[in-house]
Amino acid sequence: MNQTNPALAQPAHNKRKNNDGIDWQRVQRWVGTALVYVLMTTLALIFMIPLLWMLSTSLKTRPEIFAWPPEWVPAVPQWGNYADAFNSYPLGRFMANSMILVIGNTIGELVSVPLIAYAFARLRFPGKSILFVLMLSPMMIPGHIRLIPLYSAYLRLDMVGTYWPLILPSFFGNPFFIFLMVQYMRTIPRDLDEAARIDGAGTWTILYRIILPLCIPALTIIVVFTFLWTWNDFLQPLIYLSDFETYPISVGLAFFQGRYSVEWNMFMAATLISILPILVLYFFAQKQLIGGLSTLGLKG
């Protein structure tokens, strides 16, 4: 007959509470939580300093920006800097152009990457390893080296001056995303494919009905990174676009940097506006993004 020691059977916290009337374990947990919150808040504030400084700068007059001692709150907030920034350049148009590029690239990556990744992760075909290495090899080549040949190619295709050079490559898959997706798909048990195949599913059905729904974290990463990279890309639009009305926000912001000076207050106002979509995206996608990154980190 099993006999349990009553002292051992009593929960530890009850034991402590009974001794001196204070639930020390709970106190310990609260203190720990409070410390974590203080630490996280401090770190968050530190990370927010550049953003807050941007906000402060965007509301200052020019001489105030570099004044000593620095003032976080300007004497008279210059809200007109925001209006001036919008009046100087068509920021709304630039942001709309960026959004077109983001949507085009995101669609391209979501269409191409799972297809290519599935082939590498699941299908068997001759030369698969060599093709996989070849597919990855562009990642080892600095982008600048490809600029001139790509420019020549697009010029001959009569695509320079259009959005095609900026969107078309995404429909052929980004090697980094493909690599990510292949690694992720390899962690999904093959039993699922085989069970589906026994049930009569074909390759397309397995990919779209079985595999892709399990790849949401990886797909989220692709969407978020495509958004960020496309939104911030300066060089490619600069090289391929010529019409002022077609420039994305990354190129548009550069117009605030003049030959002899930078209008920091307007530049910061415009930059703050331009990062709003990224903040909104992160706000809505942070759960999937962090979950996706940690999942990929564990599985990849």
């Binding site: 570099f66 001139i148 190129v251 002899y260």
Partner: protein, 430 residues
């Protein structure tokens, strides 16, 4: 019914004739691609006004203006020139590495009754429009460095304003006198590279005129004196450190923001900064960079070179536009609607604020000998020797060597600089 058919046939013939005529007319019209940047000097609206004025005068030539951001212009031009195709007919060729791909304008200027090299400031023409025997472009505007001083700061410190005949040593003394560490205010800034105006004013040159000898030049008394002056300036504590300038400066063009904020009592700035200070209502004065009485005075000066790409399919039309853009009509529009100081003295005379002290002070430095006459004289300057002279400059700026070590440090670099020059000169000629 028959009448209807005739009407239809006549209409079709008429349409056919009109379409042929239209297409013939369209073939006669040429479109010129023009790449430029937008900014205070060259506002987009002013450049569009140039296009409108030009097209009104030349109905057979259309101009397609592409405005690029200043900070990405080099990448775009280098890519297209590197590809050897797709470059614009007319553009700002402000990088000397691109000169090889410019159309030689000599025959066009010889045939042009309305424009000649004599119309431009001579020293700007030589330094910014010619490259060897080739005319690589037309100078668009003039720019130069000078020292701007904040009168309010000087008044507060009870220090006399500097005068045009000041020496480098006096610069340090004045900078120390107006420095106030309590309010983080520096007296002056540092030269942003060696062998700029002050080095030349000392009579210092890093190698001989015939580009063959470093020994006796880079380590000459004048050169050592200039480097020791830099050491004294750094040691005075009256200037921002390189890190301060890197963080607080503006795009490497001069610490205008620190000057506007009253944290730099004196700064080596340019005509663009000067106009910004006017707009901001700062009470300032201008003097040339320090030099020595009775010796040649140098100035860091520049112009934008507007050129025709050698691969253009329409060189005649491109020249028509370039000579309009960088000629009196275009530069006048840019002066009136932007802030460009024209490279044509006749147009500059029309500058509406020409009588102001600041404009007069700026005009006076335009006549000085340009550092570019020497530094742009041989490509081995930038290709090879500058590495050695920059190393010494860096060591002093970072406080890595004592004043006594300046001479020995320079001497240590002589062999390296000489070897670089000997390797470079035969390769690049000259």
């Amino acid at each position: 019914m028959r009448g209807k058919s005739r009407f239809l046939a006549l209409t079709m013939i008429l349409l056919l004739v009109m379409s042929q005529l239209g297409s013939a007319l369209a073939q006669d019209s040429v479109t010129i691609e023009w790449w430029s940047v937008a900014g205070n000097e060259l506002p987009q609206e002013a450049q569009e006004a140039i296009v409108t004025a030009f097209e009104a005068e030349h109905p057979d030539i259309q101009v397609n203006l592409t405005i690029l951001p200043e900070s990405g212009y080099d990448e775009r031009m280098t890519t297209t020139l590197g590809a050897g195709e797709g470059a614009p007919d007319v553009a700002l060729f402000w990088n000397a590495n691109w000169y090889a791909q410019t159309l030689d304008l000599t025959p066009y200027l010889e045939a042009d009754p309305d424009l000649s090299p004599e119309d431009y400031f001579e020293n700007f023409w030589i330094n910014w429009a010619t490259w060897g025997d080739k005319v690589v472009g037309l100078p668009l505007g003039v720019g130069a460095n000078f020292v701007m001083y904040n009168k309010a700061v000087f008044d507060e410190a009870g220090v006399d304003y500097p005068t045009a005949d000041w020496t480098p040593e006096e610069y340090i003394e004045v900078a120390k006198a107006v420095t106030d560490t309590e309010v983080r205010r520096w007296g002056g800034d540092r030269p942003r590279g060696p062998y700029r105006a002050i080095w030349m004013n000392y009579g210092a040159f890093p190698y001989s005129d015939d580009s063959t000898m470093v020994d006796g030049y880079f380590n000459s008394e004048a050169s050592i004196a200039a480097y020791e002056w830099l050491w004294d300036l750094v040691d005075s504590g009256a200037t921002p450190t390189p890190a301060d300038i890197e963080i607080l400066g503006t795009e490497g063009t001069g610490p205008i923001d620190l000057f506007l904020a009253g944290r730099l009592a004196m700064a080596t700035l340019n005509q663009g900064h000067m106009l910004i200070a006017v707009d901001e209502g700062v009470d300032f004065g201008i003097v040339p960079e320090p030099g020595f009485v009775d010796s040649q005075r140098f100035v860091n000066a520049w112009s934008l070179t507007a050129s025709i790409w050698s691969g253009t399919e329409n060189p005649d039309e491109a020249y028509e536009f370039l000579s309009f853009f960088a000629g009196p009509e275009g530069q006048r529009i840019l002066m009136e609607q932007g802030t460009l100081f024209p490279a044509l003295p006749a147009v500059l005379d029309e500058y509406e604020n020409a009588d102001t002290d600041y404009a007069q002070a700026f005009f006076s430095v335009l006549e000085d000998t340009q550092v570019a006459e020497w530094t742009a004289g041989h490509p081995c300057w930038r290709g090879a020797v500058i590495r050695s002279v920059q190393d010494v400059w860096d060591l002093i700026n970072l406080g890595e060597i004592s004043r006594d070590e300046v001479t020995t440090t320079i001497n240590d670099y002589i062999d390296e600089a000489q070897a670089s020059l000997e390797e470079c000169t035969p390769r690049l000629g000259g």
